[in-house]
Subunit: 399 residues, 2 copies
């Protein structure tokens, strides 16, 4: 089936609310193998909603209408769709019983407009709302299916999963795999696999640039093993930048898991990044196994005092990065320690331009490495980029 999603709500047009329902429904339908070709957002306006319904009916055969099922006067979805389809709205007995019970429990008086929430389209399949009061309807006419859903994310999700999902046709299941890359730009990556993308067949390849990494989503309907073949071709070209799979993965999770696996304790001394590296490590569950503590040394005085070192060069320099990493290693007894010093602001510091970053990496029994980067962007972009570079250095060093 070819789907269109229509969202109703002036608050969406005015930007007061981010439309997270669009992402939820898009992902849910994609996983069922249903193609979504269009999203439309209109305000709480019957004329504009009718126009959108007309256009959707001419183009697609599965039409979701989300939002505007509530009790207030600007909730007009049901009435508008019923008129468009030429059907009546009728009270649903089960929905009414739940509404009465709810008001009895909370001890508030029900107002007349609450009754609008329990109206459903006559001749359709009523859709229960496990977490709210407004019911939806599944209605079929002229080989087209219309489904109404509530606007609040806490209601749309259970209603879709419990009431709508069982009614939808299951196509050839879509298998997807997300490959994550760090250290290569989107355009470079795409250039290296240009022919694979241009000649993609059953397995689709979709590149996507996130703020600090690039992902490739491979998808195929039916036979999942075809993804393996395509993945192998891709990794042959750009495998050195590949670090892991999946939506819930991240460079920090990969690094923490690697450190745990190899039983390596890490510490840090952060200037530029101000604790962001350590906080990023600690955001990963299980971090306490491999991280016991570290330092945020913003001023020169605190660098020397906390780390027990004597600087012999400006704060932003290779020498300082080296001493900081070695100081953190010595002070904590960790097996590896990383340091960050650099320029995140907009002016020069120690003769170094904004975006200059030195990352030190001290390891027991090895020579300390110092890496020099020029990063671009504003204060917090540079700070986060530096942390990501640091994580990647650790990943490569351990491997």
């Amino acid at each position: 089936m070819d789907a269109e999603l229509i969202f109703v709500g002036t608050e969406l047009l005015m930007g007061e609310v981010v439309n997270s329902n669009a992402a939820f429904l898009g992902e849910s339908l994609a996983s069922l193998g249903i193609n979504v070709y269009k999203h439309t957002v209109v305000g709480d306006n019957p004329g504009r909603l009718t126009d959108a319904l007309k256009l959707a009916s001419e183009r697609h055969n599965l039409i979701f209408v989300c939002g505007g099922l509530g009790p207030t006067d600007d909730d007009l979805t049901k009435e508008t769709l019923a008129e468009f389809l030429g059907v009546q709205l009728v009270e649903n007995a089960e929905a009414r019983a739940k509404l009465d019970e709810r008001f009895a429990v909370i001890g508030r008086e029900m107002t007349l407009n609450n009754l609008r929430q329990v109206l459903v389209m006559e001749g359709g399949i009523p859709l229960a709302n496990p977490t709210g009061l407004a019911w939806g309807t599944y209605y079929k006419k002229d080989e087209r299916v219309y489904i109404t859903l509530p606007g609040p994310p806490s209601e749309i999700k259970p209603m879709f999963n419990e009431s709508v999902r069982p009614l939808l046709p299951v196509g050839d299941k879509l298998h997807t795999r997300l490959l994550r890359f760090y250290g290569i730009g989107e355009s470079q990556l795409v250039t290296k696999i240009d022919d694979l993308i241009k000649n993609q067949g059953e397995v689709t390849i979709a590149p996507y640039a996130k703020t600090h990494e690039v992902t490739l989503r491979l998808a195929v309907k039916g036979d999942e093993s075809k993804i393996d073949i395509e993945e192998a071709k891709i990794l042959e070209r750009v495998g050195e930048f590949f670090y892991g799979y999946g939506e819930d993965n991240s460079l920090e999770k990969t690094v923490v898991d690697l450190l745990r696996e190899k039983n390596i304790e890490i510490s840090a001394a952060e200037s530029l990044t101000g604790g962001l590296f350590q906080s990023t490590i600690c955001s990963v569950s299980g971090a306490s196994e491999i991280f016991k503590g570290g330092f945020v040394t913003y001023s020169i005085e605190q660098k020397e005092k906390m780390l027990g070192i004597k600087l012999v060069a400006p704060a932003v320099s290779e020498s300082t990065a080296r001493l900081m990493a070695e100081g953190a290693l010595a002070k904590t007894g960790a097996q590896i320690a990383i340091s960050f010093t650099g320029v995140a602001g907009s002016g020069e510091v120690d003769g170094q331009p904004p975006g200059t970053v030195f990352v030190g990496l001290a390891q027991k029994g090895f020579e300390t490495q110092v890496h020099h980067f020029r990063l671009y962007g504003g204060r917090n972009h540079v700070r986060l980029s530096a942390v990501m570079r640091g994580l990647d250095l650790i990943r490569r060093t351990i491997l």
Copy 2:
């Protein structure tokens, strides 16, 4: 002008990305008094984009097309719109110079497809991209304006604010003011000003719950002083939770500005939060004036060693929070020091349930305070909530 926003990207239809640009543009245009009547999302497909452009041109006279300006083959917005309008794409010299410079700085090789990013529509007004490489165009035809914008939120915002905003007509200007509250839930806040919301007249009051705070947006067309009157009524009821104004504000910015104003140096010793407090402080420009350094003390051993203290109670306890804050104060010589210890994981620690947090606040010449909270949510929600509580404590203590 009547606007429609068209968003291009299969990743939006598939739900891989939440369309935060829609909210940003909707809000920005509303603030200029421009009415947005429709959003349309289509995939990376020239035929469907052309259909959407045709429908939009029939209905509206200000059409934004966002996304698909990047370097890869699925970025087809420019080509499709240029063909729809019957114009040529030409290289923009300024954009090209910036592209060349970027690649020279980072020392990576430019690929041919990067050049697509510097193409603009001939005869239009080129729109510079302050944070990226892909330029947009403002193009007028038959009394209709078409504007192309990039997809990444970090790029669309500066391009809109710096390049597009000055080109848009200003209607009866909508004045808005955003009030920010911390420490009160949305429903509590709304209950306290229920009558003001129900009887709102020219000044509209829109509450909005963000993850760790609540905002109220007041808006009026024409006479801005009416907002002052409404604001005074609101703050009479809930002023104790109000901390500042505006989109670009935050609790951390408020705290850093306060510390700078009063010339108070701060330090920290973090267990639970793992550096997140210090990193949050350092995310604010000017933080180096009031923050010189601090500690991430994850293990018991490092708490004692780094802070020069001897624990007399379990790690997660009031006593430990107190000693940590006092240790950080003594070690750094700051005027105020904050500590965090608690349980972010899913199991009990030291007999304390998940979500337990102790925050210590030591101040030169004052008795150390320790606050005990029970926070809800997963690991990183608890960590961030704890940091916000800590910031609020500092704000209230300094004031």
